[in-house]
């Protein structure tokens, strides 16, 4: 099993490598292209900060990909990552700079089609809208920043050499920030699909320094990105730096800062926390494309100069790649999964049974979903999500949100609160009160996850969700993650194969 796990993870590492070779070049491309920073310096700083960003701040955007489709079998994750990596590799060969993120989103949708899981339209819309917002935001930021920095330079009357040294320092600092943001935002693309089938376990060093399973997974992905940076990004950096439009060192600096800010906005849990605590609307944490951010920022500078010197035709090609990449990745993934399942007999997804018992139907009723059509299916059991969704479609029409409620209520996930597993609670992020609540349920068994959740909420208010308001968003997400930890810990092991 260990060896197989490694093989499966390899496709993620391949994807990480291609991210390092392509997307990471966007961060330092302008700096290296204008010879302000040497490739060696750029590679070391980029690798270091990509890894830091991935491990410290990577979990935010990864959650969004999990919502899009919970790829729940290792072989499936393998194929999702592999088809995304192949798509990126192929598009790069053709000469189109594409984004790893778009390929991954496409591949996950391919998996959803293959496994019969619904694609969450709300999440997909959220992701697609950021693809439009990213270049526009980056362009706006770069225009503002360019105006500001030229005004500053005029006002400060700096010596040309001091300005040069400052720009160099700024490029390195902004590049480090950009690499951090890239790691935080894009590690989800590389390792996000493996989160649901993570082979690592939480480690606690010295009792206070915790290193979660997800962080270990992301560290591995970060290392793969670093290898990509060192082995293959030099050429791409030089192309990015000089290929679009010749940039002055100050403009190069502005591009890197604008790119980094945009990536950071879509990755920072800290910023989301701040906005949520103050009741402000939060920015969705979504893995966005660094190519889109850089190209947006360069367009901003080009527009400021009246659009002269910009190769608009090349830009059209790039933009068309942004549309075709996810589609190609979805198709490649769908067929590759078919091949994997039927030729290699490897499970591309895990089938959970679904059951419509009276308790399930009343639970669905609580969520304001009409239950009358469901009565005809009362007591029936379905072996997988596809059968269940077919049966649902036969008895009535539901919106996607309603269907999601029904699916989560009816899904059978046997859980037993086994006292033998209590010592493992120490490895979780649960508070003492929450742990006590779990212990008080010793010996109880549940058929559905929501039953355990309700039982916990009855025992202790620390397990209760708060009303759906922006201020409560983080609290509710944390409870959600902790519930998942408990579900995972006490899940009754199902026989393999």
């Amino acid at each position: 099993m260990e060896a197989l796990t490694l093989v499966f993870l390899c496709s993620g590492l391949f994807l990480g490598w291609s991210l390092g070779a392509n997307d990471a070049s966007n961060v330092f491309g302008t700096a290296v292209g204008s010879r302000m920073v040497t490739f060696g310096t750029a590679a070391v700083i980029c690798s270091l900060f990509v890894i830091l960003g991935a491990v410290i701040d990577g979990a935010g955007a990864a959650g969004t990909l999990g919502q899009l489709g919970a790829v729940n079998a290792m072989a499936g994750s393998f194929m999702v990552a592999l088809s995304a990596a192949l798509t990126v590799y192929w598009m790069t060969k053709v000469g189109l700079p594409v984004s790893t993120g778009q390929a991954v989103v496409g591949a996950i949708i391919g998996w959803n089609f293959f496994s019969g899981s619904p694609t969450d339209i709300k999440t997909l819309t959220k992701i697609l809208s950021t693809w439009v917002a990213t270049p526009i935001l980056a362009a706006v930021f770069s225009i503002i920043l360019f105006k500001l920095s030229t005004a500053m330079i005029g006002w400060l009357q700096m010596h040309i050499l001091r300005l040069d040294a400052l720009t160099r320092f700024g490029l390195i600092a902004a590049g480090a920030f950009g690499s951090y943001a890239l790691g935080a935002n894009n590690i989800a693309n590389v390792m996000g699909v493996f989160v649901a089938s993570n082979p690592f376990t939480n480690v606690n060093i010295g009792g206070f320094l915790s290193f979660t399973a997800v962080q270990q997974l992301f560290l591995l992905g970060g290392l793969a990105i670093a290898v990509g940076v060192f082995t293959y990004s030099k050429r791409v950096m030089l192309t990015v730096g000089t290929g679009l439009i010749p940039l002055s060192p100050v403009a190069a600096f502005v591009v890197v800062v604008a790119h980094s800010i945009v990536l950071f906005l879509f990755a920072s849990q800290g910023l989301e926390h701040f906005l949520a605590e103050n009741g402000l609307p939060t920015i969705p944490l979504v893995p966005v494309s660094s190519s889109q951010a850089v190209i947006g920022a360069v367009i901003g500078i080009a527009l400021l100069k009246g659009g002269r010197g910009m190769k608009w035709g090349a830009l059209g090609n790039i933009a068309s790649g942004w549309v075709t990449t996810p589609i190609i990745a979805a198709i490649v993934c769908f067929f590759a999964l078919f091949f994997l399942q039927n030729v290699f007999k490897l499970p591309a997804y895990k089938d959970d049974p679904y059951v419509l018992s009276p308790t399930v139907i009343s639970q669905i009723g609580f969520a304001d979903v009409p239950t009358v059509p469901l009565q005809s299916l009362d007591g029936q059991r379905f072996e997988n999500i596809r059968e269940f969704r077919r049966a649902l479609a036969d008895v009535g029409t539901y919106t996607q949100a309603q269907e999601a409620e029904i699916l989560s209520a009816a899904r059978v996930v046997p859980i037993k609160i086994d006292p033998a597993k209590f010592r493992k609670l120490a490895e979780t992020s649960l508070s003492e009160e929450q742990k006590a609540a779990v212990r008080s349920l010793a010996g109880r068994e549940f058929t559905h996850q929501w039953q355990l959740e309700e039982a916990l909420a009855d025992v202790s208010p620390t397990w209760q969700l708060r009303p759906k308001l922006t201020v409560n968003k983080l609290h509710n997400r944390r409870i959600g993650n902790q519930r998942a930890e408990v579900d995972f810990l006490f899940a009754v092991a199902q026989p393999e194969e």
Binding site: M36, H159, S248
Partner: protein, 216 residues
């Protein structure tokens, strides 16, 4: 590393400043030497100034080599260093010209008629003023590029004044009742001085382009 970068930057900055000092001082020395020649010939005071300008020229050469080496070795100013080297070559031509001009007076000792002495003196002053304005413009390129144009127009102004003086001098010397050989000799002396302001104007033209390139 940033601190180290600032240290090297500081040194290069000082070298650039020192070069401008040398050029500016050489201009003053040149003017004083010509004045000395007009009043006392190649006597002690002239020799003293000749040596001073010669020393400044060697120091300028040394500094220019240091600047070139530092800029390329430390990859400073990758965007503009080609322009900067070209600028320093243009400035260096002027510095060399000062020394050559004084050698000309020392070796060939042109016999300047007393009627023309005022014009020679004025020509020298205008040429040196054009160089001083050029030095200010060039310093501004490095320090405060917005001020470049405050100095550049003066370079052109002094150069055209110097041209007018040269024409006047030539007409006067060829109208005089002296040997043709002496006329030609005097003409060369006037041209040797006037060349300085032409070179200053050439350097100023380059500076305009370099400035536009940086602010684009």
């Amino acid at each position: 590393m940033p601190l180290e970068v600032f240290g090297r930057t500081k040194r290069l900055q000082q070298e650039i400043d020192a070069y401008h000092d040398a050029l500016s001082e050489a201009a003053i020395g040149f003017q004083q030497a010509v004045e000395a020649y007009l009043t006392e010939g190649t006597a002690d005071r002239f020799q003293e100034k000749l040596k001073q300008v010669g020393d400044l020229e060697s120091r300028g050469d040394e500094l220019r080599r240091d600047i070139e080496r530092d800029m390329y070795a430390e990859t400073l100013l990758p965007e503009s260093r080609g322009d900067i080297l070209e600028l320093f070559e243009a400035l260096d031509n002027i510095l060399n010209r000062f020394e050559e001009g004084l050698w000309y007076f020392d070796v060939e000792t042109p016999d300047i008629p007393s009627d023309l002495q005022d014009d020679f003196s004025q020509l020298t002053e205008l040429c040196c003023k054009s160089v001083e304005s050029l030095v200010l413009a060039s310093r501004a390129y490095f320090h405060d590029s917005a001020a470049i144009k405050d100095h550049l127009h003066k370079v052109r102004f002094y150069e055209s004044d110097a041209d007018a003086v040269v024409s006047r001098l030539r007409r006067a010397m060829f109208a005089m009742d002296i040997d043709l050989a002496r006329k030609l000799h005097l003409g060369l002396a006037a041209k040797g001085i006037a060349d300085v302001s032409d070179m200053a104007e050439d350097a100023a033209d380059k500076l305009v382009i370099f400035h536009i390139k940086r602010s684009a």
